[in-house]
């Protein structure tokens, strides 16, 4: 059997506490510009040497500003785009070693949910059909069994099972996102990458969908990679959070640490900028302002990628790239100036 090669790739025990291991992941998009003689070649370093684990049943949040590589990280992990280099191990299987057919067999276990709930639903198909589609591709199921599974899924995500034959335009944004979730869950995945799944929804609807994500996680023991730029929502749903900047992880820690003791100067600026829905707290805050010139990922700064905007940068910061440091268990920072022992700047 083909999957033999896959199972051979098992690293350590199958029941390790990490479901997902990402090691030195890189995704570069090559480009060339200019004409003939002065033609320049280069690459957008969308994801540049990213490493982290995701534990079984946990939610790892990924935050960072637009273009920092969050979506590309999600897609590269699921091999929707082949990584340039690095390893992605999911439940003991190294995806980077799989051939397309093996990868296809892996698909049911790893799913993705996108931001734009409307664009990802085919308007000409009934929602019953849309939700059943992955089962048609991956499973050999009887019509009846498939139909009852779809109705079960509709119920699971809080939609009326009798709406089976309705079309996407008959649903609101929040309901369409529920349809997407039902489809992603149809094959009983272990791991779901949620890429800005609530960004297009209104506050009152966001709460419904976030609660649904949390309920399903408990019920089905799901593991999430949750990407968003709404920091307060990420903080709400995540156990741990990775902060990305220009294709790199700058800080990786628990949600409490992130809020109470962010160590990386970029994280500190980011946290100081999130608006808090509490007027008194807002009045008491001091914000850390960064200059707005975000470097291009095609030409990232030398040394620390944050050095050009960092309020506390020193000469070394633009000369040598800082390394991943464990300040304490579960608190990783990539910064020259964060002291290893005291965790202070």
């Amino acid at each position: 059997m083909k999957t033999e090669t896959a199972t051979n790739q098992i690293i350590g025990k199958t029941e390790s506490k990490n479901l997902v291991t990402v090691k030195n992941l890189k995704k570069y998009f090559p480009f060339s510009k200019g004409f003939f003689l002065n033609r320049k070649r280069g690459a957008v370093k969308a994801v540049d040497d990213v490493s982290f684990n995701i534990r079984r049943g946990e939610t790892l949040g990924v935050v960072g500003e637009s273009g920092c590589g969050k979506s590309t990280t999600g897609r590269a992990i699921l091999h929707l785009e082949r990584p340039t280099s690095g390893k992605v191990i999911i439940d003991g299987v190294d995806l980077t070693q799989l051939n397309p057919e093996e990868l296809r067999q892996m698909r049911p276990q790893i799913q993705m949910i996108f931001q734009d709930s409307y664009a990802s639903l085919n308007p000409r198909h009934s929602i019953g059909h849309i939700i059943a589609e992955p089962m048609m591709i991956h499973k050999n199921m009887q019509q009846d069994a498939m139909r009852s599974r779809v109705m079960e899924l509709l119920e699971l995500v809080g939609l009326n099972p009798n709406h089976y034959n309705r079309f996407p335009h008959e649903f609101s944004g929040g309901q369409r996102q529920r349809i997407n979730i039902a489809r992603a869950l149809s094959l009983n995945p272990k791991f779901v990458v949620c890429d800005e799944p609530i960004s297009a929804l209104d506050v009152s609807i966001q709460a419904q969908v976030i609660n649904l994500f949390q309920d399903l996680q408990k019920e089905l023991n799901l593991t999430y990679l949750f990407i968003a730029h709404d920091l307060s929502m990420v903080q709400h749903i995540s156990n741990r959070v990775a902060v990305m900047y220009l294709g790199k992880v700058m800080e990786l820690t628990t949600r409490d640490n992130l809020f109470n003791t962010p160590l990386h100067p970029y994280t500190q600026a980011l946290m100081s900028a999130i608006p808090i829905p509490d007027p008194v707290k807002e009045r008491q805050r001091t914000r850390i302002f960064l200059n707005e010139d975000v470097p291009s990922p095609a030409n990232p700064p030398q040394g620390c990628v944050f050095s050009t905007r960092c309020p506390i940068a020193e000469p070394i910061c633009s000369q040598r790239a800082p390394e991943y440091k464990a300040i304490e268990p579960d608190h990783f920072v990539v910064c020259h100036k964060v002291d290893k022992k005291r965790g202070e700047i």
Partner: protein
């Protein structure tokens, strides 16, 4: 405090192929001199249509303003001797009654506006400098040279580095934050009395958003303007507004000073909305309070409280009457048949 703008019972509808969209059904609010008024509400609640109605920016057809007044008192400022006298002495201008050239003088002159999408609001084939300069020439009758000098000053004022050089840049050469700064320079170029900003930071990253908010707050103070800031982000409003209007399905459901709104909300919708927000820094991840259901279809809004079927306090009479905006305490208005602010005072969040 003195009123600078008074919007009364504004009704705007769209006559479309699908039917009549009841976009605004009686919007009333005041704007005071020197204040920042936040307008929040979900998508489709009528925030943008309100502002576009005031500025005559809606396409007609399908849009039709069927009722209301928008009284602008700004000109009282220009006559210092009347400053302390009652407003009756200075006839306000009803913006809705102005003709084309009348509103053109106001728009970009007395009232500046900033949109979410600076890239499409700016002319892509005209340099930044020329766009601001032309506004100055049109509204303030400056010469080309005066306009150029003033434009460079404005660009510098809003924090654009190297304004001399940036003067001849095109919008696409700017980052999102810089484009929004340019929009702000354009909006304030003619010393407006009011700035209307419609989701000006929604497309920006939080760190840039924080700087744009800071900038507008500073300009507001220095230029003694009033600001209307439209957003769906209750965090942004908490940080910058003096008073807040909460819109739901085409009308304000609550208007209150900012602290009052967050710590003692009076309308069931506002109460639920605040509960639906994640509390940053909470010890463990509590469940968010969710509001079931969706807003009504504005093609056929119900002849009763628009929030009734999502409201957890709904009573029989809520299904019979459209509640009017009433003052539940000084300066605090809610459009609910009951008064929740008194009975269930909400402790400060977190």
């Amino acid at each position: 405090m003195r009123k600078i703008l008074e919007v009364k019972d504004l009704v705007t509808r769209f006559y479309t192929f699908d039917g009549v969209v009841h976009a605004l059904s009686g919007v009333s609010f005041d704007l005071y001199k020197g204040e920042t008024l936040g307008i929040v509400g979900e998508s489709g609640s009528g925030k943008s249509v309100t502002m576009m109605s005031l500025l005559h920016l809606l396409p007609s057809p399908p849009a039709k303003i069927e009722n209301g007044q928008a009284l602008y008192y700004g000109d009282a400022d220009d006559k210092p001797d009347t400053n302390n006298k009652p407003d009756a002495d200075n006839k306000p201008i009803d913006l809705l009654k102005l003709n084309k050239s009348g509103i053109r003088k106001i728009r970009g002159g007395k009232i500046g506006f900033i949109f979410q999408d600076a890239l499409s609001a700016l002319n892509p084939v005209m340099t930044i400098g020329r766009q601001i300069g032309e506004t100055l020439i049109e509204h303030l009758g400056m010469s080309v040279q005066q306009a150029k000098t003033r434009t460079i000053e404005m660009l510098e004022y809003v924090g654009i580095p190297e304004p001399q050089r940036r003067f001849s840049s095109y919008p696409h050469q700017f980052s999102g934050g810089m484009r929004q700064r340019t929009m702000i320079a354009l909006a304030i170029a003619c010393n407006p009395k009011i700035i209307i900003a419609d989701e000006p930071t929604t497309a920006l990253d939080v760190t840039v958003q924080a700087q744009i908010i800071e900038l507008v707050q500073r300009l507001k103070k220095e230029m003694n303007m009033s600001v209307i800031w439209i957003t769906h982000d209750l965090g942004v409003v908490a940080g910058m507004a003096d008073r807040v209007v909460v819109m739901y399905a085409g009308a304000p459901v609550e208007i209150a000073p900012v602290d009052e709104l967050y710590y003692n909300p009076g309308h069931p919708y506002t109460i639920k909305l605040l509960g639906a927000l994640p509390k940053i820094g909470e010890k463990e991840s509590l469940r968010l309070e969710s509001i079931d259901g969706t807003p009504p279809d504005l093609l056929s809004p119900p002849a009763h409280c628009q929030f009734a079927w999502r409201c957890s306090h709904v009573q029989e009479k809520c299904w019979k009457i459209v509640p009017e905006q009433k003052e539940i305490s000084s300066g605090h208005y809610a459009a609910c048949l009951f008064d929740f602010a008194d009975k269930t005072p909400i402790p400060p969040l977190m």
